[in-house]
C-alpha cells in the first residue's frame, strides 16, 4: 500500500473510533440505572425500562438476569440500583447489605402464579397434588417415570427442568412444596434462564418444569399448565386465582428492591420507580404478568413517598 493510502486508512479508522466514542449518548454516564436479579421479574423490569425510555428521552436502564440470589449479592455490595427478586430478601442477604451500608426500599410490583408446565403431548396429567409434586421434587427422589407419580399415568420417562439454585423461584418453590428452601433433588436440568426451561419441556414428551406465570402465558402454544391441588381441589394458575389467593401454595408477590443511596443520587431512578409503580398494571398486562390491584399499588406508592421524604 502506498503511503497516502495508508494515511487515509489510518485517518478513517481514527475518525470512526472518535465517532463511536462520541455518539455514545448518556450510556454509561450519569443517570444510568442498573438492575439485576430474578429472571422471573427481569422481563417485567425490562418492559418498564423500555416504556420509560420512550417517555423520559433516553434514560438508560440495563437489566441483567443473574437470578434473585445473584442479584442480591451485587445489590448488597452497591453494584446495582435495583434488585429484581422473586422472593423476599433473606437474613443472610440483609446482613451483607448492612455490612456494606446499603439501605433499600422493598416494593411489590406484580404478582405471580408459579406454574408447573408439561409438554403439549402430555394428555394424562392435568392436575397434581402438592404431595405428588413433593414426591417428584424432594431431595433423593427416585421417581423417573410418570407412572410412578400416579399409577394411572403411562410409563413415560419423566424429564425435569427447573430454575437453578440462584433463583428466587427455586427458593420459593422448594419452600412451598418441599418444606425447606433449597431442598430439592439434584438430577434435573437447571437453568437461571426460564426460556431454556420452556425449550426443554416443549422438546420432551415427558417434560415437567416450573417457572413464573408470565413464561407460561407467553408460550401457551408450546406448553400446558397443570392445576395444583393444595388441599381444596384443583386450581389452575391464572390472573384471578393469583390475585384472590386461591391458587395456593404457589401464588406469590414479586419484588423490586431499590437502593436508597441511589435514589438520593440519581433523579432518574426516582422517576423510573415512580413510573413503574404508576404503570404497573399496564406493564404487567403487556408483559403477561398478573397485575396487582390498584389499592395494593397505591400502598406501594405510599411506601415510596415515605422513603423519599
Amino acid at each position: 500500500m502506498s503511503r497516502p493510502t495508508k494515511i487515509t486508512a489510518a485517518a478513517a479508522v481514527a475518525a470512526f473510533a472518535l465517532a463511536l466514542a462520541g455518539c455514545g449518548g448518556d450510556g454509561g454516564g450519569g443517570g444510568a440505572i442498573t438492575a439485576d436479579g430474578s429472571s422471573t421479574v427481569g422481563p417485567f423490569t425490562t418492559k418498564a425500562a423500555e416504556d420509560f425510555r420512550r417517555e423520559s428521552e433516553g434514560t438508560e436502564v440495563t437489566v441483567g438476569i443473574s437470578g434473585t440470589g445473584g442479584g442480591f449479592e451485587r445489590f448488597c455490595i452497591g453494584e446495582t440500583d435495583i434488585s429484581n427478586a422473586s422472593r423476599a430478601i433473606d437474613e443472610e442477604e440483609i446482613a451483607i447489605c448492612e455490612e456494606n451500608g446499603v439501605e433499600y426500599l422493598e416494593l411489590q410490583v406484580v404478582l405471580d402464579a408459579l406454574t408447573n408446565v408439561v409438554n403439549v403431548e402430555n394428555d394424562w396429567a392435568t392436575c397434581l397434588t402438592t404431595d405428588q409434586l413433593n414426591a417428584i421434587w424432594e431431595p433423593g427422589s427416585r421417581i423417573e417415570s410418570w407412572s410412578q407419580v400416579d399409577p394411572s399415568f403411562p410409563d413415560v420417562p419423566l424429564r425435569l427442568f427447573g430454575p437453578g439454585t440462584d433463583s428466587g423461584t427455586f427458593d420459593y418453590f422448594t419452600d412451598a412444596i418441599n418444606g425447606e428452601e433449597g431442598a430439592s433433588r439434584t438430577d434435573y436440568s437447571p437453568s437461571e434462564d426460564d426460556n431454556v426451561i420452556v425449550q426443554g419441556v416443549s422438546g420432551e414428551r415427558g417434560g415437567l418444569g416450573y417457572f413464573g406465570f408470565s413464561y407460561f402465558e407467553e408460550n401457551q402454544s408450546r406448553l400446558e399448565a397443570l392445576a395444583v391441588d393444595g388441599g381444596s381441589g384443583c386450581v389452575a394458575p391464572g390472573v384471578e386465582t393469583a390475585q384472590d389467593g386461591s391458587y395456593t401454595p404457589l401464588s406469590r408477590p414479586l419484588f423490586i428492591y431499590v437502593s436508597l443511596g441511589s435514589l438520593e443520587e440519581n433523579e432518574s431512578l426516582e422517576a423510573f420507580v415512580r413510573f413503574t409503580l404508576e404503570n404497573a398494571q399496564t406493564i404487567a398486562e403487556a408483559a403477561q404478568y398478573v397485575p396487582m390491584s390498584q389499592e395494593q399499588l397505591d400502598e406501594q406508592l405510599q411506601k415510596l413517598e415515605d422513603a423519599l421524604s
Partner: protein
C-alpha cells in the same frame, strides 16, 4: 475421500443456507437501527452490532502492536539460550491452547473485579485482545521468518542498526503476512462469546456502547435470542447470525485476498 469433502462442504452449505433462510424475514433496517426489545417485532440489534465493531477496533489497536512487537523481539532480538526467553516461548505456546472461557475467568478476576473497571466495553476488549494475542504473535513470527536473511545482512552491511533493519526492511516485507494473520485473529475475536459472557455483557442494553459503558456484543445477543422460545426471536437470532457471519466472512475474505495479492516470492 470425496465423501469427506462432500460432508465438510455440504455441512457448511447447509448451515449457511439454513441460517440465511431462517433469518431472512427479520433481516431488515430495524435490525440495524433499533435496540432490543421484549416485543420481537420491535427488536433490533443496533447496540450489539455497534459494540461488536467497537470491540473489534479496540482489539485490533491493542493486539497488533503488542503481537508484532513480541514477534519482532522473539525473532530478531532474543537470545534463545536465555531462560527468560524460553519462558516467553512456552507461555505463548500454552496460551494458544487455553480455552477462551478461561480467559473469561481471568478477565473477571483481574479486569472486572481486580482493576475494578467493571463490566464495560474496555474490559471486554482487553480480554478479547488476550485471547487473540497468541494467534497474532504466531502469524507475525511466521511472516518475519519468511523474510530472507539476505535482506537483513544487506542492510547491516550498509551500516544500519538492528532497529533500523527491522523497521525499514523486515517489517515492511512482513506486513502482508502479519496483516493476514491479524485479520484472521480479529475475525475470531469478533465471533467469541464465552469470555464476554463471563464478564457480563448484559442482557438488556438499549443504548449505544461507549468505552466505559455497559454493553452487549452481537454473539452474546444472538445467544440470548436463541434461548427465547418465541419463534420470532429465533428468527431474529438467525438474522443476527447472518450479520455476524457477514462481518466474519468479510474479514476472512480480505485476509485471503491480501495473502494472495501480496505473497512475495523470494
Amino acid at each position: 475421500m470425496l465423501a469427506a469433502m462432500v460432508v465438510a462442504f455440504g455441512t457448511l452449505a447447509v448451515l449457511l443456507v439454513d441460517t440465511i433462510v431462517t433469518g431472512w424475514p427479520e433481516l431488515d433496517r430495524q435490525l440495524f437501527t433499533d435496540p432490543p426489545s421484549t416485543v420481537p417485532e420491535e427488536a433490533g440489534a443496533r447496540p450489539a452490532i455497534l459494540a461488536t465493531l467497537y470491540l473489534g477496533l479496540i482489539v485490533l489497536l491493542l493486539s497488533v502492536p503488542i503481537g508484532v512487537l513480541t514477534a519482532v523481539y522473539l525473532e530478531e532480538y532474543a537470545n534463545r539460550e536465555r531462560w527468560w526467553n524460553r519462558v516467553i516461548e512456552v507461555s505463548i505456546q500454552n496460551l494458544a491452547a487455553v480455552p477462551s472461557i478461561v480467559y473469561g475467568i481471568l478477565g473477571l478476576a483481574f479486569i472486572v473485579r481486580g482493576i475494578g473497571i467493571g463490566r464495560v466495553v474496555l474490559a471486554g476488549a482487553l480480554i478479547l485482545t488476550l485471547v487473540v494475542l497468541p494467534t497474532v504473535i504466531v502469524a507475525s513470527r511466521e511472516a518475519i521468518r519468511s523474510v530472507p536473511d539476505s535482506i537483513r545482512q544487506g542492510a547491516f552491511a550498509l551500516g544500519a542498526t538492528k532497529w533500523q533493519v527491522v523497521w525499514r526492511q523486515v517489517l515492511p516485507a512482513a506486513i502482508p503476512g502479519m496483516a493476514t494473520g491479524s485479520i484472521l485473529a480479529l475475525s475470531r475475536a469478533v465471533g467469541e462469546t464465552a469470555p464476554l459472557i463471563m464478564v457480563g455483557a448484559i442482557v438488556y442494553v438499549a443504548f449505544d456502547p461507549t468505552l466505559f459503558g455497559a454493553y452487549t456484543a452481537l454473539p452474546v445477543q444472538i445467544y440470548n435470542w436463541t434461548k427465547q422460545p418465541d419463534p420470532t426471536f429465533q428468527t431474529l437470532a438467525a438474522a443476527g447470525a447472518i450479520v455476524l457471519l457477514a462481518i466474519v466472512l468479510a474479514m476472512n475474505a480480505v485476509a485471503i485476498v491480501l495473502r494472495n495479492r501480496y505473497r512475495r516470492r523470494w
